[in-house]
Point group: C2
Chain length 193, copies 2
DNA sequence: GTTAGCATGTAAGGAGTTACATGATTTT
DNA sequence: AAAATCATGTAACTCCTTACATGCTAAC
């Protein structure tokens, strides 16, 4: 249970850990990070915020995010200490959900707040998840012989290609981590050409 | 409304247009084509089949798909004439839903049953959808300057790269279509290197 | 003979979208 | 002053997953 909701909550907590924000703004920031994949409707966002407040993870700052825009009926949300602790624990105990397409991106965008061990755990888990998919698809392609038409073949080829590419990318990220993390080494070596 | 359901129904009808099958088998075939992206649970599949039967698009062949496995309580589904017509019309009048990630793959896997005009329409629609996303992301990246950490940047770069790659792929597919379709020309020119 | 895989189905519940409802503020 | 955009929220509805319930057949 709680599959996507975990990803949503995680990204809300993650963004708020960087700076407080109100719902409308939150959504835009979410799109810019996770937006490669999905957008979230207010019908999902506001109830989530409400629930996080009820559980003590967020507090409603009645106004002023320290900058522009005088006053309005905006509600600025801030992480509570409990919320920070919750975020840390979510980030640390990553179950197999963390290898999912949607969740992985959110988690990686929060890597800066995690330990090397956690990062490696997630990257390797993701890689092995993709390798399993890859193996299944290849077995299928080889065995199948289901006289597929040119279009379906092209589609499969493209999908396979994208998967292989992501695995290579993960391999590079893992090497970098093992050599001290992305922060330390030059990032330009990845995806250089 | 009916967003995913359309994709589900489309892929059921599409697969059955190639040959009759029962639910269990159908699901496996679905995974092999669309499986790059998602799998479907029986809790979704069987009710869908039921509904398609009720609407007259499918008929239940009580037994025997002409081959092995003597008899069992398997239900083999066949497209009715109405179902064929429905499939054709779904394939032809493709609204903006057809550019969605999930739906696009299903539709492309059925390209062999469509006209050149339909194929071009979908490929171009998909491309312009991706180009819009791309433009938004780039604008965001350029303007933002939200001092993102190395991990988030790497993630964005990878996402951008994948998007650009898909656009190039679509461009090649479109050229090939304009030159007579994938069937006619050598497919090896695409994704050769 | 018992485990593993084939095969179908339903009920409860989760998670999110769409559509609606409302109002302030900024831009034209 | 109208239009666009910012901003929050709720209720109904849709679609799907999970968990359960059932039974056959093949393999070990």
């Amino acid at each position: 249970m709680a599959k996507r909701s975990e990803a949503l909550e995680l990204s809300v907590l993650g963004i708020l850990s960087q700076s407080p924000a109100h719902g409308y703004e939150l959504r835009k920031r979410m799109i810019s990070v996770t937006g490669l994949f999905k957008t979230i409707s207010y019908g999902a966002l506001y109830p989530t915020l409400k629930s996080l407040v009820e559980r003590g993870f967020l507090a409603e700052q009645d106004n002023n995010p320290t900058n522009k825009y005088p006053k309005r009926n905006r509600i600025v949300y801030v992480l509570t200490d409990q919320g920070k602790a919750h975020l840390t624990s979510l980030l640390t105990d990553s179950g197999p959900d963390a290898w999912d397409d949607e969740t992985f991106a959110v988690r990686m965008s929060l890597f800066a707040q995690t330990s090397l061990a956690t990062r490696l755990h997630i990257l390797q888990g993701r890689r092995s998840r993709l390798e399993t998919r890859l193996a299944e698809l290849r077995a299928n392609t080889a065995k199948g012989r289901e006289r597929l038409d040119a279009y379906t073949l092209e589609l499969q080829k493209h999908g396979l290609d994208a998967l292989e590419r992501e695995v290579r990318w993960l391999n590079e990220l893992i090497s970098h981590e093992e050599a001290g993390g992305l922060n330390r080494s030059s990032t330009s070596k990845i995806n250089k050409k």
